[in-house]
């Protein structure tokens, strides 16, 4: 057996962590990485065959080893894979960088991973980053994002958005306590009906994103009780659901999502989609994800999809929760309108990425579509508030 087997585990792990950087990391922080006032550059070094295989097998989640260079920091021993659902695209694959895939304790600036969003489903390329910025502005725990030109083995691979991943690091920081994280996986149009007594359907819908070993019962028994309560809470007592789902946080998130005309979220047009649940104790907290369909249309109904969804319908039937929802929408609208924040944010981000976007020959949309999409976002920022005010009137 190797003599290295006698190295104390913690000292060795620390040495490995420190040795992973060619430049001391202390000068850089997560705030620097997600500084969205700058256009970043990310370089990936990987075996040329792996890059070819990743393209060829872009629908697979196979991991490939690579080095990642950002702002003078070289992170070794990183895993990269193709990612996304509807955004999987061979010419410009979405990428997920995992810093802990090959070494469970390895972190980069405290992060376990980093998403490189390929932006192919949004011609403007700034919908999601703006949506997340607005949600953070109103106190919703949303991921940080910053644009980056990505180079692979020295060749420009396109304009990507660096996205802070929703993982246990993010969730624990957002909710300040340890818990269990689940990613909702769209598998069929699901409208928050009760999936049944078996735990299997819950494991299909909610993928465990936790470290360590957990039994199915530990993971999904509270999930079953959540959906039982959503469906079976007595009339006039829907607030009981709060035991299993943080309704205050949910209403705040829904307020932001509905104002932004998000049509592929919790009350999505084809069932629930694009969110995580983070459970601390019995109570789960909703974390929004993937807002590249935000700002869909100025006149997109505020309550689109709510009636179809058991959670949405019963939530708005409760007078107190309906009032809270109206308040949440009003606050988001105010935040967007304050000093024309939303319009200025669209313009700032557009200006920042424009040259890199136009040079990105791998993007799905044309340069004309990119310019047109920006024009539509400006129109949204100017006209959406008055439309939403009209939608809110009958709810008050």
């Amino acid at each position: 057996m190797s003599p290295a087997f006698s190295i104390p585990r913690h000292a060795a792990a620390l040495a490995l962590l420190l040795a992973s950087f060619t430049v001391p990391a202390s000068a850089q922080t997560q705030a620097d990485l997600f500084d969205d006032t700058a256009l970043h550059t990310v370089e990936i070094v990987m075996h040329s065959r792996d890059w070819s295989d990743l393209h060829a097998n872009f629908r697979s989640n196979d991991h490939y080893p690579c080095d990642v260079i950002w702002n003078g920091l070289r992170m070794r021993n990183v895993a990269v894979r193709s990612r996304g659902n509807g955004s999987r695209y061979e010419a410009k694959p979405g990428l997920e960088l995992s810093f802990d895939y090959y070494a469970s304790q390895q972190r980069f600036l405290g992060l376990r991973g980093l998403v490189l969003d390929n932006l192919v489903t949004d011609p403007s390329m700034i919908r999601e980053s703006t949506a997340m910025a607005l949600m953070r502005r109103v106190g919703v725990p949303a991921t940080r994002e910053a644009p980056a030109r990505v180079f692979v083995n020295g060749a420009y691979a396109g304009l990507y958005m660096m996205v802070e991943p929703v993982d246990t690091v993010f969730a624990q920081k957002a909710f300040e306590q340890p818990g269990l994280l689940f990613e909702y996986r769209w598998t069929y149009p699901f409208f928050a009906t009760f999936p049944g007594e078996s735990l299997d359907p819950y494991a299909v819908l909610f993928e465990s994103r936790n470290l360590g070993v957990h039994s199915t019962a530990e993971l999904y028994t509270p999930m079953r009780e959540l959906f039982r309560m959503i469906n079976e809470a007595p009339e006039g007592a829907f607030g009981q659901v709060d035991r299993y789902l943080d309704l205050t946080g949910l209403v705040r998130t829904l307020g932001a999502s509905t104002f932004m005309a998000e049509w592929d979220g919790v009350f999505g047009y084809d069932g629930m989609n694009n969110f995580y649940l983070y459970r601390t104790g019995e109570q789960a907290h909703l974390i929004p994800w993937d807002r590249d369909q935000a700002f869909h249309a100025v006149d997109y109904p505020l309550l689109a999809g709510v009636d179809q969804n058991v959670l949405g319908r019963r939530l708005l039937e409760d007078a107190a929760l309906r009032a809270a929802f109206v308040q949440a929408v009003t606050e988001v609208m105010a935040a967007a309108q304050s000093d024309t924040w939303l319009e200025r944010e669209f313009t700032r981000q557009y200006t920042l990425i424009r040259d890199a976007a136009l040079a990105d020959t791998f993007k799905l949309s044309t340069n004309d579509q990119f310019e047109q999409a920006f024009t539509e976002l400006i129109a949204f920022a100017r006209q959406r508030p008055s439309f939403v005010l009209g939608e809110l009137a009958p709810l008050r």
Binding site: M1, F5, H10, C66, R76, N77, Y102, A103
Partner: protein, 423 residues
């Protein structure tokens, strides 16, 4: 040498069920014999020699084999859901095999065996021509001569699962041609051949991957008039295999199948060396084996550079004590018949000689040391010559000094019961 846990020849029957099976088989074979041609009738016949056997004349016979193994998972701490598994989910049938073997004209031995219900049904399919005692030539699909435990039939293993070093580092069956025989008054046994890896998909094609194999066994103790007793056998083996570019390096598994070390990218050649010793006495036996595998990784760095060799090492020491022994052809007293206690320690580890930081990514130059130690304790009970009941409990512990794996190094236990019927 493949040691049989159950002697082949028989004495008195083992009760009414056995008698019924024997009689029934004899009647069946007699009916079949009646249908044979008159010319063969005088030299042919059917008998029961632990299994249905057709006698086809001097030096020719065909035996029918069948074996069934059923496992019941009692405990698996590596699976957090194991405790809630249903009875059906705990049961499995790892082997459901039928086959024939025999001898033609006292010159050509053959075997055909398949797994029932498997998409790749064929196991051993070969013919073995005896030129003389010193030279036999075998061709077909059969086990590559390398590991003592791998060469031991799954029916005859002293443990339910092979040691990790064997199952993860030793080849099993491939298509090939092999010369083998015994020399020096049977004291020296040799096997040498060439095999085609994954031949079912690449046989005779230009990208065929071949293994050169050689194994030598010395049996220095006397057995009656000649040497070559199986009381002590010492073996050494060498394999050299082409390794095409790809993620085809060895991987490491827990006894229940979970992977703790994933394959690395390799390219070039794989060289495996092994050595074993087997000591068999009337009341006990000991076996030990070491295996070392070295894979070249030409051009497999993330920048296309050559990487240091991937080195995989493992081995085991196993002992068996016949608590209630069968002495030669005689079994012990009822109700135990034959009862063995077994114990084994095995180790499997991976690493490389590369310098710099040690990583676990599949293109790491310096592969971080990762390994697994396992203790297995077991009981084997032979109520009769066809049935074996085994119980094994295994304590496994990951060796991960750099704390790279998420599963940690806390030992965990698994227990499996096996019921086997073989004839």
């Amino acid at each position: 040498m493949q040691r049989r846990a159950v002697p082949r020849t028989t004495r008195a029957g083992f009760g009414p069920i056995t008698t019924f099976v024997k009689k029934g088989t004899q009647i069946l074979l007699a009916l079949l014999a009646l249908g044979a041609s008159p010319a063969l009738a005088q030299e042919t016949g059917a008998t029961w020699d632990n299994r249905p056997t057709f006698l086809l004349g001097d030096g020719s016979r065909i035996e029918i084999h069948a074996r069934l193994q059923s496992d019941y998972l009692v405990r698996n701490e590596a699976d957090p859901d194991a405790a809630s598994l249903s009875f059906d989910d705990r049961l499995s049938l790892p082997r459901k095999r039928v086959g024939v073997e025999g001898m033609l004209f006292d010159r050509v031995a053959f075997q055909v065996e398949g797994e029932v219900g498997d998409t790749q049904p064929w196991r051993d399919v070969f013919a073995d021509v005896k030129i003389n005692r010193a030279l036999h030539v075998r061709a077909g699909r059969f086990k590559v001569p390398f590991s003592l435990e791998q060469l031991t039939s799954g029916t005859d293993l002293d443990f339910i699962a092979r040691a990790s070093a064997v199952s993860d580092l030793s080849p099993s069956r491939d298509i090939g041609v092999m010369a083998h025989g015994r020399l020096a008054d049977r004291a020296l046994k040799y096997e040498a051949g060439v095999f085609e890896v994954d031949a079912s998909s690449r046989l005779w094609k230009s990208d065929a991957v071949r293994t050169l194999a050689g194994r030598v066994t010395i049996a220095p103790l006397a057995d009656g008039k000649s040497r070559g007793s199986d009381a002590l056998e010492i073996s050494a083996a060498l394999l050299r295999t082409d390794v095409p570019e790809g993620r085809g390096g060895p991987s490491g598994h827990l006894v229940m199948g979970d992977t703790f070390f994933r394959s690395m990218f390799v390219s070039g050649t794989r060289t495996r060396v092994g050595a074993s010793v087997a000591w068999n006495a009337a009341r006990a036996s000991l076996r030990a084996e070491v295996i070392r595998s070295m894979d070249t990784r030409l051009g497999q760095g993330i920048d296309g550079s050559d990487l240091s060799n991937l080195v995989s090492t493992g081995g085991y020491v196993a002992g068996l004590w016949h608590l209630a022994a069968h002495d030669g052809h005689r079994y012990g007293h009822a109700p135990l018949r034959a009862l063995d206690l077994t114990a084994r320690f095995d180790r499997l580890s991976f690493g490389s000689a590369g310098g710099g930081e040690a990583f676990l990514n599949p293109r790491a130059d310096h592969v971080a040391p990762i390994g697994k130690d396992a203790w297995t304790l077991g009981v084997n009970w032979h109520p009769n010559r066809w049935v074996k009941v085994q119980a094994n409990t295994v304590r496994e512990q990951i060796v991960d000094p750099l704390a790279l794996l998420p599963i940690g190094t806390t030992p965990f236990w698994s227990t499996v019961l096996r019921f086997q019927v073989a004839m």
